[in-house]
């Protein structure tokens, strides 16, 4: 639009404005009052108010920075086959139990399940050489064995989330004998799905990763060793730079005036800001083999000398994707059932975005009940 065109349009646009000095004064006074009340409330917030992932649990295994936890069952006799939840490396596991009333873990416990989850911890400089295979055939396999041993079940249920879903898919393909059922949530299987079905505002990370050359990725890993958590977090936030400004300003006003919303907001912010460093070799594989070369769905991904064939996933598969997911575009998760070796494939959309799947009001009513019913039936 030229300056002249803009100048012509301004009076027309201004006809939609019914803002007067009086309405302005009233509105901003209300906003200032809300902020004042919010600041007073913030001044009383303590660490207990902001605690996340507080579900009662015990550590049952540890190696390096990785911890395996068993959540304390809330029924006397939980279901025989436990669930092992595997979260991503790019964020912390606390998302699965952000708050007591927004907790996938607690909902599964309430459904009578025996729930374990992995905390990948905070990889440091020493972990820069860890590969996807080290996670899948190393830590994850050990965790699975510990859960099998403790439960007495030969095959257990796996629930993978996002990047953790990819690790889980690789595991289920490489170690099918240890997996009874596998569920994926917001998990990319076809990393080039967004090319088939591009959506504005979605899949920016996919596009950016493909815009890099393999040499760029090598250079990044060689220079940084591990991808700094702040860099990873920044990359996510820059997907929506305007929203990230309004949420700390004009959208904050209504949050400040509502105690429940304020605490929800603070807990979510605490989680968002806590980005672990990403081990360099995993980062290299993730970008080159998956984002760039899409090797998982092509059955070309090689881990520890073994090729991951999705056809080897012969156990029942539940695949849950978020209809408004902009981080993992819907087309990267949806419609991949024919790639697995199983005849028992279920695909379920949930409303909301990538993280909203776990904490959003509507999604909360679908996610845990769907997973619980699906596992119970198998």
């Amino acid at each position: 639009m030229t300056p002249a065109e803009r100048a012509l349009l301004i009076p027309q646009a201004a006809n939609a404005l019914a803002i007067t000095p009086a309405t302005l004064a009233r509105e901003l006074e209300q906003a200032r009052n809300k902020i004042t009340r919010g600041l007073a409330r913030l001044a009383t917030v303590d660490d207990d108010d902001l605690a996340i992932a507080t579900v009662p649990r015990e550590e049952v295994w540890r190696q390096d920075m990785v911890r395996l936890y068993r959540c304390t069952p809330v029924v006397e006799r939980p279901h025989a086959v436990p669930i092992l939840i595997t979260y991503a490396l790019v964020g912390r596991f606390q998302m699965i139990d952000l708050e007591a009333d927004r907790s996938l873990v607690r909902k599964l416990l309430a459904q009578g399940f025996d729930v374990y989850f992995i905390d990948w911890g905070l990889p440091g400089r020493a972990q820069r050489w860890l590969t996807i295979d080290d996670y899948v055939s190393g830590y994850l396999d050990r965790c699975v064995d510990v859960v099998r041993e403790r439960s007495g079940e030969d095959r257990i249920n796996l629930l993978g989330i996002c990047q953790g879903g990819v690790f889980t898919a690789c595991y289920a393909a490489l170690f099918p004998a240890k997996v009874r059922n596998v569920a994926f949530t917001v998990t990319p299987i076809d990393f080039h799905g967004d090319k088939r079905e591009p959506q504005p505002g979605s899949g920016y990370m996919n596009q950016w990763a493909r815009a890099l050359t393999p040499e760029d990725v090598d250079e990044l890993v060689d220079i940084y060793g591990s991808a700094p958590g702040s860099m990873v977090g920044f990359a996510f936030l820059m997907m929506n730079p305007v929203s990230n400004l309004t949420k700390y300003t004009i959208d904050l006003i209504d949050v400040l005036d509502d105690d429940a919303k304020l605490l929800n907001f603070l807990r979510m912010e605490r989680w968002i800001a806590d980005r672990p460093d990403h081990p360099g070799e995993v980062f290299r594989q993730w970008f080159k083999d998956l984002y760039q070369d899409n090797k998982l769905i092509r059955n070309e991904l090689v881990l520890g000398g073994r090729t991951v064939h999705l056809r080897d996933i012969t156990m029942p598969v539940l695949n849950i994707y978020a209809t408004g997911d902009t981080i993992i575009p819907v087309a990267c998760s949806r419609g991949v059932g024919d790639r697995f070796g199983t005849k028992d494939y279920t695909e379920v959309p949930v409303p909301g975005g990538h993280i909203g799947t776990f904490v959003g009001g509507k999604a909360q009513k679908i996610l845990a009940p769907t997973i619980a019913e699906w596992f119970k039936a198998r």
């Binding site: 301004i10 027309q12 646009a13 201004a14 939609a16 404005l17 019914a18 803002i19 007067t20 000095p21 302005l24 901003l28 906003a31 200032r32 902020i35 600041l39 913030l42 001044a43 917030v45 660490d47 911890r67 279901h79 025989a80 596991f93 911890g121 400089r125 820069r128 050489w129 080290d134 064995d145 041993e149 439960s151 170690f175 004998a177 504005p200 505002g201 920016y204 596009q207 950016w208 760029d216 990044l220 220079i223 060793g225 700094p228 920044f234 936030l237 730079p241 305007v242 929203s243 990230n244 700390y248 300003t249 904050l252 006003i253 605490r270 800001a273 806590d274 980005r275 460093d277 520890g304």
Partner: protein, 304 residues
Amino acid sequence: MSGTTNASGVNAVYDFWLGLLPQFFAQFGAPYAGIGAASTNPSSPTSLPFPADQVAKAAAMTQSALQSLAQAYTPMLQAAGGPGLLGQWTSAPPFALPMQQALGAKPMDLAAMMAPMMVPMTTMSGPAATIAFERTFGAVSDALGFGPMRKLQAAAQELMSASIDQNEARTRYAVLVQGAFAAGFDALLVRLAGMAKSGERVDSVLALLRLWAVATEEAVHEVLQSERGLEATVAIARAGLAYRRKLQSVASIVADTLDMATRRDLDEAFREIQELKREVRALRTPPPAEPSSRPAARKRKAAP
């Protein structure tokens, strides 16, 4: 431990966004100085747990900005009404250039740290001067054992050059984002004109700001996901990597000179440790040749 956070990165993200808030409001006509004063208000709670401390800062800045907006808008609305307000937005300072500065804050600081080492080179700048210096004093420096100093100066010069390249990449990116913000404002005008035709009215400044945010976010997405947007983003990443590579080169020369272990030495040690761990793992649990391989599990009576 599960409760531990990645402390180094936790505040960095907030620092970045909060640093942009004054400029964010400035583009709508709120004076920068007033907002900055609020952010340093001594009554602002600074001993709160994260992120309440940061949110409190954001809230205080927002409150101050709203006050500034009220002061700026009231006479304008009295004098010129809605067109005056929208006109104010078109003439406000561009937002993306402060963003570019914020993007560059850390590397620029590093360049500033290197400045003292650059003095000999900057006083006789240019490749010709470097060659002249090298021809005149190179052999003497070598003879006196000052070889590393020459290397260091050369590396520092490359670092400065990389810093300039990085700033250029940032500027190109910022110009792109600035264009997206302008396109967002145009989209807002079109939207408002459409609303006016259909009889819809906006009677809230905050609602107007939210409409702006939606329009601008869409425009930013469109630009950043375009070919030129991706190119600019990749260029900024490459420039950042090149700068860091040069910085590491300087550090490596210093470490070698002082006989200190470098990052690469540590990495090699970590690599060996990781390889040994893999060997131990392979000894403990050889990869299953067949899907049916499984350890004997302890059976127990389980609930149905």
